[in-house]
Symmetry: C2
Subunit: 266 residues, 2 copies
C-alpha cells in the first residue's frame, strides 16, 4: 500500500502553532519521522481554508518538506489559489487532495488537476451530500472518473477514489457500505487507486487506533491500495504489510520479510 | 469473541519445565495473566501425547488452573485416557480440544465427548489429510457435525469448528480458502461456533504477531466467534473488540467502549 502520511495538518494545534511560528525544524521533523515509519508521500494541510494565508502556508510547508525528505508531496487543499501554486513547487508528480463532485469544488479544482502531472484524490461527496449505499458510491465514482479523465486530463491510474468513511459508533452500516464499495470499485475499475480517510471511523471512540487498524486491514482486503494515515502509530506498518500479504499481494511474503529485516514492521 | 488462552502448552519449553517441576506458581501465573488480558477459557496442553504421563500432567494442570482462576477449562488432548479424566475435574462445561474426522481419533474421542456436558472443537482433518478448498471444508464440517450431534450427543451450538489454517508464507490460497470457508460455514450453520488456530498462518515468518492479528481481524469479519490465541500479545484484545464492532456484532460499540473504560483494550 502507498502510504500518505497525514501528520502535517495545521488543524492540529501543535502543527498549527509550528506553522504560525514558521518553525522549520518542527515541521521537518514530522516529515522525516513519517518517512522513517514508512510514508511514501507527505500530506501538507495549511489550514485557513480559502483564507488569504493558505497559499503562503502551503508554499512554505511544501518547501520545508522537500528540503527535509525525498518523499512525494500530497497537497491537501480544495482551494485552487493555494493548491495550484503549491503543486507548482511540489516536485515530481504530487498528489492533490482532493476534488469532489460538489459543483463549486469540481469546477474550481479541475483546472488545477488538468494543469499538473499529478495524482488526484477524488472524494465521493456531491451537492446531494455524503454517499450512503454501495450503488450510490459506484454511480458517483463513475461520474467523477468521467470528469477527471476528460476535463481533468488524468489517466485512470492517476485517480485515487476515496469512498468516504463515517464514524462506526454512529452507524455500522455506513462503515460496512464503505468497505463493500471498495470491493465494488476495485472490481469495476481494476486500474483506479482507492484510498480512505479511515481515521474518521473511530471518531468519538476511545483508543481510536484499534478501530483505525481494524478498518485498514479490512479495507486492504477489499482492495484499498493508498492510505492517508499516520504510519508512526504502533502496529500500523506491521498490519499493513500483513494485510497485503493476506490479500494475496505479496508473493511468498517477500515484502513482509524484507520490511521486517529492515526494521520497518512497527 | 470468546477467547481461549493458549499459553499453557507444555510443548513450549518454559511451560514444559514448569510442568515437569510441578511449579504451581508458574502455571497459575500464566492462567491469571491470560484471564486479566481477556481469556474466557484457559487451554491446558500436557504434552507427552498418548504417553503415560499425559493423564497425570493434564489432571495436575486442570487443578492448578481451577485453583488460580474462575475461567473455563479447555482440555487440549486427543487421547481419551487423558482427556476423559481431565474433563471430569474441569468444572462447568469445559471445552475438549479436539476431535477430527481421522478415524482413530474420532472413534476414540466420541465417547469422551458424549460422556461430558461440554463444548467440542472439531478440526477438519481427516484420513485424507488436510482440507484444501472451501467445498472440501463444507463437506468435512457436515460429516463432523453429523457425528457430533448423533454419536457425540452434542447440540449444534456446542460444536466449535476449526477450519485449519496453514502458513501464509507457503501458500496464500490456502489461507484465503480457510477464511472463505469461515463465511461459508457461518452461512450454512448459523448456530455452530467457529474457531481457528490462527497462529499457524504466521509460521516461518518474522514478527509473527502482525500476521496473526491481521488474520484474526479477517476471520472475525468472516464469522469466527472463538479464538485459540494469546490474549496478552499487545494489540490483540483491542483489535478483537474493534473487529467485532466492525463486523456489526457490537451495537453502538458499547462493548468496545466498556472494555476501553475497564482498561482491557491492550
Amino acid at each position: 500500500m502507498i502510504v500518505i502520511g497525514e501528520k502535517i495538518n495545521a488543524t492540529r494545534s501543535r502543527v498549527g502553532q509550528a506553522l504560525k511560528d514558521r518553525d522549520e525544524a518542527a515541521i521537518a521533523a514530522l516529515a522525516v519521522e513519517q518517512v522513517r515509519c514508512g510514508a511514501h508521500y507527505i500530506d501538507v494541510n495549511g489550514a485557513d481554508p480559502n483564507g488569504e494565508r493558505e497559499a503562503a502556508n502551503l508554499a512554505w510547508l511544501v518547501d520545508v518538506v522537500r528540503r527535509a525528505t525525498e518523499a512525494g508531496i500530497s497537497v491537501d487543499s480544495a482551494n485552487p489559489a493555494a493548491a495550484g501554486p503549491a503543486m507548482d513547487r511540489a516536485g515530481t508528480k504530487p498528489i492533490v487532495n482532493s476534488i469532489s463532485l460538489e459543483a463549486d469544488r469540481l469546477e474550481a479544482m479541475l483546472p488545477v488537476v488538468a494543469g499538473h502531472d499529478c495524482l488526484v484524490v477524488g472524494l465521493l461527496m456531491s451537492d446531494e451530500g455524503v454517499p450512503r449505499t454501495v450503488e450510490d458510491r459506484i454511480d458517483r465514482a463513475a461520474r467523477l472518473i468521467d470528469k477527471l479523465t476528460t476535463a481533468g486530463g488524468r489517466a485512470i491510474d492517476e485517480i485515487i477514489i476515496d469512498p468516504c468513511f463515517f464514524p462506526l459508533a454512529a452507524d455500522i452500516e455506513a462503515v460496512a457500505a464503505a468497505l463493500a464499495s471498495i470491493s465494488a470499485i476495485r472490481s469495476r475499475w481494476p486500474e483506479v487507486h482507492i484510498c480512505g480517510g479511515v481515521s474518521n471511523t473511530s471518531h468519538g471512540l476511545p483508543q481510536r487506533r484499534y478501530v483505525n487498524l481494524a478498518v485498514i486491514v479490512q479495507a486492504i482486503a477489499a482492495g484499498m491500495d493508498y492510505g492517508i494515515i499516520d504510519p508512526c502509530v504502533p502496529g500500523t506498518m506491521g498490519l499493513i504489510y500483513a494485510a497485503e500479504a493476506l490479500a494475496g499481494r505479496d508473493e511468498f511474503c517477500m515484502n513482509y520479510i524484507t520490511a521486517a529485516r529492515a526494521g520497518q514492521l512497527t
